[in-house]
Amino acid sequence: MRISTASQFDRSVDLIQRRQQALQASHEQLASGKRIARASDDPTQAASAERALAREARLESHQRVLESSRQVMAQSESALGSAVDIMQRIRELVVQAGNAAGGDANRKVIADELRGLRQQLLGVANQQDGNGNYLFAGQGGAAAPFVQVSEGVEFRGTAGSLASALGSAAPMSVDAEQTWMQAPTGNGVFKAAYALDPTAPGSHQTQAWVDTGRVTDPASLTGESYSVTFTGDASAGYSFTITRTTGAGAPAAETARPYVSGQPIAFEGMEVTISGTPSPGRDTFEITPSTRDLSVFGVLDGLSRDLGASGRSGAQLAQTVQDGLRDLDSVMGSLMTMRSRVGWVMEQADGLDRRFSDGRLAAQSQRAAAEDVDMAKAITEFQGHQTSYDAALKAYSMVQRLSLFEYIR
């Protein structure tokens, strides 16, 4: 078959150019280190690399959120620790005040100290982080969350805690209302209290007091409120009547039972112990279901008021101290529970951070695997292209010199 000279040259040039192009492409890969400079180099790998990049960016963003959360949690934990320390001191003081040998003046001093500690506690509750945000404002706010009003301390923050994009694993704040304002009253199930306010006009110095009470049979609990009244006198003995004051058919009174000071009174799955000498017709004790609205500051304000008041009977003092210790334990428990929860969250955050780091590494590896060039392979290919380009050039120089005209002189 004939080959025209012109097309021969064209073809040779074309082949050389193709070799050169291949060499150039190989060189570009080597120099940039990327196998995929544009999507058309390998579309599926390019898409895979793109998705890996998106994952990595997202994980990085999550890690930043986690870091913010950890900072807040650490500061909150430390603040709660300070608060618990203050509460321990307060508890010691209250126990001290319960010692009847102290006297009114002594108790007044203790009440003053209590008020000072209570102010410290308010400072802790209104603590700010480094950025001017309040740690215990619930879901964040521009103003201090715990505000002194005439009746005591009001919580002006928001309910709940601030969630982050990582959900409950990395909260951005602590549930402040729950921590400081929502401890359970009483013993957690019911609250036994003297029904009348000692500071109200016309009240008398009672000589009886009631303890915290306990649950004997949870299945028999009704969740209703009761009141205990007394009849009788010192000579004939006292009797008490338990009247159910809420619920169907209320009021429903039981038959009177003889009263013995210090003897447990059991009814409806509950048991309380009233001690001292009751005043029939004037003393009433109330048992109501516990509510979750015991405020740290409310407890402290009540304690410092009652301990500092003069002219209280021994029974009233005993009641105050006992109720105080009961409530202190309740609010302290609330603080400590939140503290340990924060500690647990911080521990989980460590694990989460590790998982995010691992995830990022995996995404980066996937991206590199898709995009980056395998150096050994690329160098080998480059050398191969170099050799074939060289061969094409040599072949050209040898073949194109051949011509019949060289020989017919």
Partner: protein, 554 residues
């Protein structure tokens, strides 16, 4: 017996061999001229003389100087060239188009992902002004990258229009040249046919024309060649050339298409009938690949901005007011500068236009729709640019559209619906102040920021008619990237194949028609020897004559 006959034999031989030498020399001289067909001298024995001793030859005649030309191979090579140029033009344009879809940190998908990631930081610190500024800055980045991609596509469209214009001009110049040479050939042709170099020149013009457009040629009896393009439009008829025109596409004036003038006016050439050549490649790229790229980008733009705006409106800003639009809502027809969604075809009788609104942005497809009345089903039907079955107006909601006002339309009119085609260029941040970011929900200061951040994992783009499936914004970009890359790859492979086919066809053609210098060298020697021998014959004839004269002169 005549000394003259020997002389004349020698003379004829010398003349013939000299002609052969001349022809060979011409071949050698033109060996590298593109499209040159080698010429051969056809020698024939001169008629013989009958004598008593038998019939005596009277030398040699040059019958003709023929041109090696295989019509079939030439046509095959020309049409293979058309295909190769079509594919090459498309590949070059696609490679430029691909630059609008960058992978990695410089790409659109990364910016969109980072914008939604910034929402998680807003959720952590909803009142922090610095974080809010970051969110706005990231929104700007998204808008910038969408706009840059859109501008890139606009530039490519402008270049396509320019290239088509230039190509059409070139076609017209070539057509004029063909017409003139047809005229010359017809006037100069003798019984031997046309002059070889003119035929070569005409073939060269035809080849150059084939590179631009696939042509059909018809040889007429008078020796002229007529050229037809597209669906049988005459470009060159004998010595008359009809101009080809590049005009605005009547359905979308930013695009071009080809047309020719005929008796009735300017008639468009349907791009489907342009099966080869650079112009066909450019048109295919413009009508398929460029449109698809635009709709891919627009689909993502619409899905992202609509989802963000909708969620943002559910939240409250720092002043407690409901959130406004974060991104400009280009689909809101009442907004100034909104995206026009419906184009009237230029040839429509009425000026009435249907109203297109977007029902569900997440269901929008990466497509445009031709709206035309279908008599068979007695209703207006939408034909997607992505192919597939036609959709009735009532079913337009399956692709996220709501079309009204079709009853008032003239049934002969046509419309082009472009819900997403130009959307990418309209992405910009609408929200101006950081305090206007609606991070809060009614229950918490960061509830809406959390919901906005969650959009990164929701499918915002390309849901099915039932609302299922679809892709997140980053996945949608990765898929779009891969899709364009696959197109380029496919086009590159097709171009490689068609270039290889064209090369092979050209080799075969030039093998038959081209000059091989070794062959010419051999013939040179052959003719030279023959010439020398003929000269010797003359010399001998002359000496015989001298001898005769001497013998007679006594």
């Amino acid at each position: 017996m005549s000394a003259f006959s020997l002389l004349s034999i020698g003379a004829s031989a010398m003349a013939a061999n000299y002609t052969a030498l001349q022809t060979t020399g011409n071949n050698i001289a033109n060996a590298n001229v593109a499209g040159y067909s080698r010429q051969r001298v056809e020698l024939a024995t001169a008629s013989s003389q009958s004598t008593r001793s038998g019939s005596l030859g009277l030398g040699v005649d040059v019958k003709s100087v023929s041109r090696a030309h295989d019509q079939f191979l030439a046509r095959e090579a020309a049409s293979a060239q058309s295909n190769a140029h079509m594919d090459k033009a498309r590949v070059a344009a696609l490679q430029r188009l691909e630059e609008a879809f960058r992978p990695g940190e410089n790409g659109l998908g990364y910016a969109a992902g980072q914008f939604l990631n910034a929402m998680t930081e807003l959720a952590s610190r909803p009142t922090d002004m610095a974080v809010r500024q970051t969110v706005l800055a990231r929104a700007d980045e998204v808008a910038t990258r969408f706009a840059a991609a859109s501008t890139h596509l606009d530039a490519i469209q402008a270049d396509v229009n320019a290239a088509l214009g230039e190509g059409v001009q070139r076609v017209n110049v070539l057509a004029e040249g063909l017409a003139r040479i047809n005229q010359k050939i017809v006037s100069v042709s003798g019984p031997q046919g046309a002059p070889n170099d003119m035929l070569d020149q005409r073939d060269r013009l035809l080849n150059q024309l084939s590179e631009k457009l696939l042509i059909k040629t018809v040889m007429s009896q008078d020796g002229s060649v007529s050229v037809f393009v597209g669906d049988g439009r005459p470009l060159v008829m004998g010595s008359e050339a009809r101009p080809l025109l590049a005009v605005n596409d009547p359905s979308d004036a930013t695009r071009s298409t080809l047309a020719m003038k005929d008796g009735a006016g300017t008639r468009l050439i349907d791009s489907e009938f342009l099966a080869g050549g650079e112009l066909a490649g450019l048109l295919k790229f413009q009508n398929e690949d460029l449109v698809h790229a635009r709709t891919l980008l627009g689909q993502m733009a619409a899905g992202l901005t609509a989802a963000v705006n909708t969620q943002h409106a559910l939240g409250k800003d720092l002043k407690g007011q409901p959130g406004g639009d974060l991104f400009f809502d280009f689909h809101d027809a009442t907004a100034p500068g909104a995206l026009p969604l419906v184009r009237r075809a230029a040839g429509n009788q009425d000026s009435a236009v249907p109203t297109l609104t977007i029902a569900e942005p997440a269901k929008l497809q990466a497509a445009e729709y031709k709206l035309a009345y279908d008599t068979a089903s007695d209703g207006w039907m939408l034909q997607s640019s992505q192919g597939g079955a036609r959709i009735s107006v009532a079913d337009a909601s399956t692709v996220g559209l709501n079309l009204t006002g079709v009853d008032a339309l003239n049934r002969g009119d046509r419309f082009l619906l472009q819900p997403v085609t130009y959307a990418a260029g309209m992405v910009r941040r609408q929200l101006s102040r950081p305090e206007d970011l609606a991070a809060a929900s009614s229950s918490s200061p960061n509830g809406n920021a959390l919901a906005l951040a969650a959009l990164a994992d929701q499918s915002l783009v390309g849901r099915s008619p039932a609302g299922q499936g679809g892709a997140t914004i980053t996945d949608a970009y990765a898929s779009a990237l891969a899709e364009m890359g696959t197109r380029v790859q496919g086009a590159t492979t097709a171009a490689d194949i068609s270039i290889s086919v064209a090369d092979q066809a050209e080799i075969r053609r030039s093998a038959s028609d081209g000059v091989n210098l070794d062959e010419e060298a051999a013939r040179l020697i052959q003719s030279q020897q023959a010439y020398q021998a003929s000269a010797k014959v003359l010399q001998v004839a002359q000496s015989i004559f001298d001898t005769l004269l001497q013998a007679a002169a006594v």
